[in-house]
């Protein structure tokens, strides 16, 4: 049985159809990449899955439940963690508290949650910065914080919105290694990513969107040679 199933989802903003009849499904334990040019509707799709937007049409199932139109905090409780492309740190709290608040979801005791948060921060490499104001981190660190916080909610499915962007090549490798570890521990990963090297490297399967429509789906090799994908990224060749 698939963990996530998106069926014919449509989202309109005024006259613009941001996501147009998109369907796909993910099995437990998969690593799937979601790519497409700017404005393709990737983040909108994330917002639909995580409950920040309500689809105009279509249904979304997670772990056997219909989650269409459920509130974001309910969907988090069911086991969907997410990061934000435009980072949203709880700026005036410490790094540790940011993550501890995530951990409080499954560990209501504050001390227990802080302990859990420390473990997560050791994993994501932010442990040394745990007592800093989250707002004073630099952007790559804030992206790691997004990831740490989502992990602390102990998700079954992790939605990552451009966590690699802005990192230097060695940081990218480090983060990809971490994502593999997270995946191997049983967390299913769906990631939106612009850094092709990263997404080709880590994804077992890739979904491509353009102008709100899913235009291709396949292994990284298939996607890299798909003429529709090349066209979406580079434009049509004029004859």
């Amino acid at each position: 049985m698939s963990l996530l199933e998106v069926k014919g989802v449509v989202k309109r903003f005024g006259g613009l159809v941001a996501v147009n009849d998109v369907s796909f499904s993910m099995d437990e334990g998969e690593r799937v990449g979601l790519i497409g040019p700017n404005g393709a509707g990737k983040t909108t799709l994330f917002n639909l899955i995580s409950g920040y937007y309500r689809p105009d049409k279509g249904r979304i199932f997670f772990d056997g439940r219909d989650i269409t139109g459920r509130k974001p905090y309910e969907i988090t409780k069911l086991g969907v963690g997410r990061t934000f492309q435009i980072v949203k740190p709880l700026s005036n709290l410490t790094v540790l508290d940011n993550v501890a608040i995530g951990a409080l979801l499954r560990h209501p005791d504050v001390n227990e949650a802080r302990k859990r948060a420390e473990e997560v921060l050791k994993l994501t490499g932010l442990y040394e910065k745990r007592n800093m104001r989250a707002g004073s981190l630099n952007l790559p660190e804030k992206k790691r914080l997004e990831l740490s916080r989502a992990l602390a909610t102990e998700p079954k499915l992790l939605l990552l919105d451009e966590v690699v962007a802005g990192l230097n090549p060695s940081e990218v490798d480090e983060l990809l290694k971490l994502l593999r570890e997270i995946n191997e521990s049983g967390v299913t990963i769906l990631m939106v990513e612009h850094v092709m090297r990263a997404v080709m490297n880590i994804s077992e399967r890739i979904i491509v969107m353009d102008y709100g429509v899913k235009i291709a789906e396949g292994t990284p090799q298939e996607i890299a040679s798909d003429p529709r994908v090349i066209e979406a990224y580079l434009g049509r060749e004029e004859l």
Binding site: P89, S91, D97, L104, R149
Partner: protein, 346 residues
């Protein structure tokens, strides 16, 4: 033994020592005021404590949850009227009435929270002002509660003084207010250190991020509203027993109740748990001194205390935007909150 152990442990900590000293001074001060016959000082201290209770309650919404209210006079007024009506119409002792008043204020808070929390940031703040004015108008035109004339409780015979909590001057009421402030600390401190306190701060920082962490912002704003209105209503009950007179213009006043609470909170420092108490103890005496001494001596300066309030606001925003506690911390007189696990806002 357990209690003694707790006190011993507490006294080893520096904050615990400060707390013990301040508590001792607070307990002795009214006796000194009484011995030396300083009714003005006693009254000022009572008002400080009353505003401490309310500013701390207000700050659960503003400092912790990020919901700025200019409408806390509603809860103050509802608490004051409830205590008065129970006492006057139903002969219920204010020992009970004060708490019922707090509870009624809390229920009013929950009812108001449903529409108000649909609004964000400054729209919320503006709506709270409107709600305060609406309550004033309702009470002005409501005959059951005495309309614009308000309600006054009669002087009771000697043997009923304890039942109706009726004593001359402010001395006895100071101990009442101290007890209620102590109760508030006992409830609020564990609350803000619990999961709820963390969730409230997450909502203050970013509601979208909070939701992604499994937090229902509306639910926790309502929790904050409940306790905030509860203790503000209890503050109103203290007002009723001390002054034996409530009228809509006094208890629902935007400036001398809602804004006073706000200023006490901001002056002390909203990102500090005890900031609002410190703010109340600085702001209320200044305001009272100006009102009682300067204005009464120079009647042409009527309203000067409101002007002073403006000057204080200006001074905070220029010199100590994080309030007294934030300023003390920056100057190194207090431990940095980063080290203690709490963090301040910039």
């Amino acid at each position: 033994m357990g209690m003694l152990q707790f006190i011993k442990e507490g006294l080893r900590d520096r904050n615990g020592q400060y707390f013990a000293i301040v508590a001792a001074v607070m307990l002795v001060a009214p006796l000194i005021f009484w011995k030396l016959d300083l009714p003005f000082a006693a009254n000022a201290m009572l008002l400080c404590l009353m505003f401490s209770i309310m500013a701390m309650a207000w700050n659960l919404l503003e400092g912790y949850t990020g919901q700025l209210s200019f409408g806390h006079a509603v809860f103050f007024g509802v608490g004051a009227y409830t205590t008065m009506i129970l006492m006057l119409y139903y002969r219920v002792t204010p020992w009970v009435g004060i708490f019922v008043g707090g509870l009624v204020a809390a229920l009013v808070g929950l009812a108001l929270g449903v529409p108000l929390f649909r609004l964000r940031s400054h729209w919320f703040a503006l709506a709270t002002i409107a709600v305060g004015e609406i309550f004033k108008l309702i009470f002005i035109s409501w005959d059951y509660v005495g309309g614009s004339a308000g309600l006054q409780s009669p002087i009771v015979p000697e043997e009923q003084k304890l039942y109706y909590l009726q004593y001359a001057g402010s001395y006895v009421y100071i101990y009442l207010a101290l007890g209620l402030l102590g109760l508030e600390l006992l409830i609020m401190y564990p609350l803000v250190k619990s999961r709820i306190g963390y969730y409230l701060q997450a909502i203050r920082e970013d509601e979208d991020a909070a939701m992604s962490l499994g937090i229902n912002p509306f639910k926790y704003k309502m929790v904050a509203m409940f306790f905030s209105a509860l203790f503000t209503g209890i503050g109103g009950g203290i007002y009723t027993v001390r002054f034996r007179f409530v009228d809509p213009f006094a208890v629902f006043d935007l400036i001398s109740v809602s804004v006073y609470i706000t200023i006490a909170g901001i002056l002390g420092g909203i990102y500090s748990f005890i900031g609002p108490i410190v703010g109340s103890f600085v702001f209320v005496p200044i305001s009272e001194y100006v009102r009682v001494y300067i204005v009464s001596r120079f009647p042409r300066f009527y309203g000067l205390h409101v002007f002073v309030l403006g000057v204080i606001l200006l001074a905070i925003s220029l010199l100590a935007p994080e309030g007294i506690m934030g300023w003390l911390e920056k100057k190194g007189y207090l431990r940095k909150r980063e080290e203690t696990g709490e963090v301040r806002k910039e």
